[in-house]
Amino acid sequence: MISRRHYIAGTWAVFSSVAIGTVVQPFSDAEAAGPPPEERFTYRGRRVDIVHQSHGHGVAHAQVRVRVNGRKEIHVHRGGPRNRYVTHALPFTEYSSPQQLARAVIDAEDAELLII
């Protein structure tokens, strides 16, 4: 598990120079099928890091952490009606992926609805 994740992260790093700075792809069902590897992207001037921390029960029990600019953190949890992603920052909907959740919370900060 660990070595596979490192492999994926390493593979991802090769392409990261292409991925960073490009438009973030909208959610697709493939994204919700399982946690993607560690990922970094930029959105509205923030650097967002998505980190999956496995607890040894496989991806379904992996915990996700979303960091913004390396210092701040967005609350995220696996849950909701389809076991996707929820946050108490924007608690009345579920998100298909941690990326989509992070973008929604950043949008809300820019709309002055909350502070990350």
Partner: protein, 294 residues
């Protein structure tokens, strides 16, 4: 005994006294404490590390908000004892009454809660009784609350990119009341096909309670959603719908779980982050709480 009425059926003079009392609570800080408690409840997972919190995504969703409504109603009546009770906003009738467009309701005018946010002014509500209100923002990384730097609530009716365009109607409410005869069931979360979860709006797609939050948008989107007084009018209607369900299927004994559920959600558990801690079971029968719906 407080009588809770449809705000759109109340004389305007009474609506004005209600919004004036809310302004007194806003000015003396009482109101913002309600917003803080709601966010604190939202941030208190049960059990720790789960998506469920002490007031949402679980069976106590309806009792917790009923208790909170009662506390706000008591605070309003202390300001103005001539008020009849907390009004409700019967949102399920708005599409039908307004040619399919709930934004055209007189609810969204200066006489009631003020208009939609002005797109050219950062979606701020510029008129009505709450035009000068400063919202309390929650800072997630520190857990602190910070007043927004400028006054004006944010609303984006049916047009918030973080929300939803569709609005619940009477058919949705009727279906929830007719088809969901079980209050709640294990695992007591957002996946259950029970009445609480249907009314909260998780089961079967974004519905009812969640859908109204998402449709109003702006300040109704975050955990600090009581910032907009529409929150209380919305939740008073949710409570009225729950009472209709209880009157039909059973009041106290239909509540589940009695025991064995997540802490804060069992019938004899204490609900946290209210002004006065109360047991779930103590708010199930509104006749013992001393208010009724008209």
């Amino acid at each position: 005994m407080p009588v809770r009425r449809n705000i759109l059926s109340m004389p305007l003079e009474e609506v004005k006294r209600f919004t004036a009392a809310l302004n007194v609570l806003k000015d003396d800080g009482t109101y913002d404490a309600f917003t803080r408690r709601h966010m604190d409840a939202m941030s208190t997972a049960t059990p720790a590390g789960s998506a469920r919190n002490v007031a949402h995504q679980g069976p106590a969703f309806l009792p917790w908000h009923r208790a909170s409504l009662l506390e706000l109603e008591n605070a309003l009546l202390a300001v103005d004892p001539t008020l009849e009770g907390l009004p409700y906003w019967m949102w399920e009738r708005e599409s039908e009454l307004n040619g399919g467009d709930p934004r055209r309701s007189r609810f969204w005018t200066a006489d009631y809660v003020g208009s939609d946010g002005a797109a050219e002014s950062g979606n701020r509500v510029l008129d009505g009784p709450f035009a000068s209100w400063v919202a309390l923002l929650h800072e997630g990384s520190t857990g602190s609350f910070v007043p927004r730097s400028t006054p004006g609530l944010v609303r984006r009716l049916g047009r918030d990119p973080g929300g939803i365009r569709t609005f619940p109607d009477q058919a949705q409410v009727t279906e929830a009341l007719d088809r969901y005869t079980v209050y709640d069931a294990a695992p007591w979360d957002a996946t259950v096909a029970g009445f609480r979860n249907r009314l909260e709006g998780w089961h079967g797609g974004s519905r009812l309670h969640n859908q109204v939050h998402l449709w109003v948008g702006g300040d109704m989107l975050p955990g600090t959603s009581p910032n907009d007084p529409v929150f209380w009018l919305h939740h008073c209607n949710i409570d009225r719908i729950w009472w209709a369900w209880q009157a039909r299927y059973g009041i106290v004994y239909k509540y589940q779980p009695v025991s064995g559920g997540p802490a804060g959600h069992n019938r004899s558990d204490e609900m946290r982050h209210l002004l006065t801690p109360r047991q779930v079971g103590s708010v199930l029968d509104i006749r013992t709480l001393g208010y009724r719906y008209a």
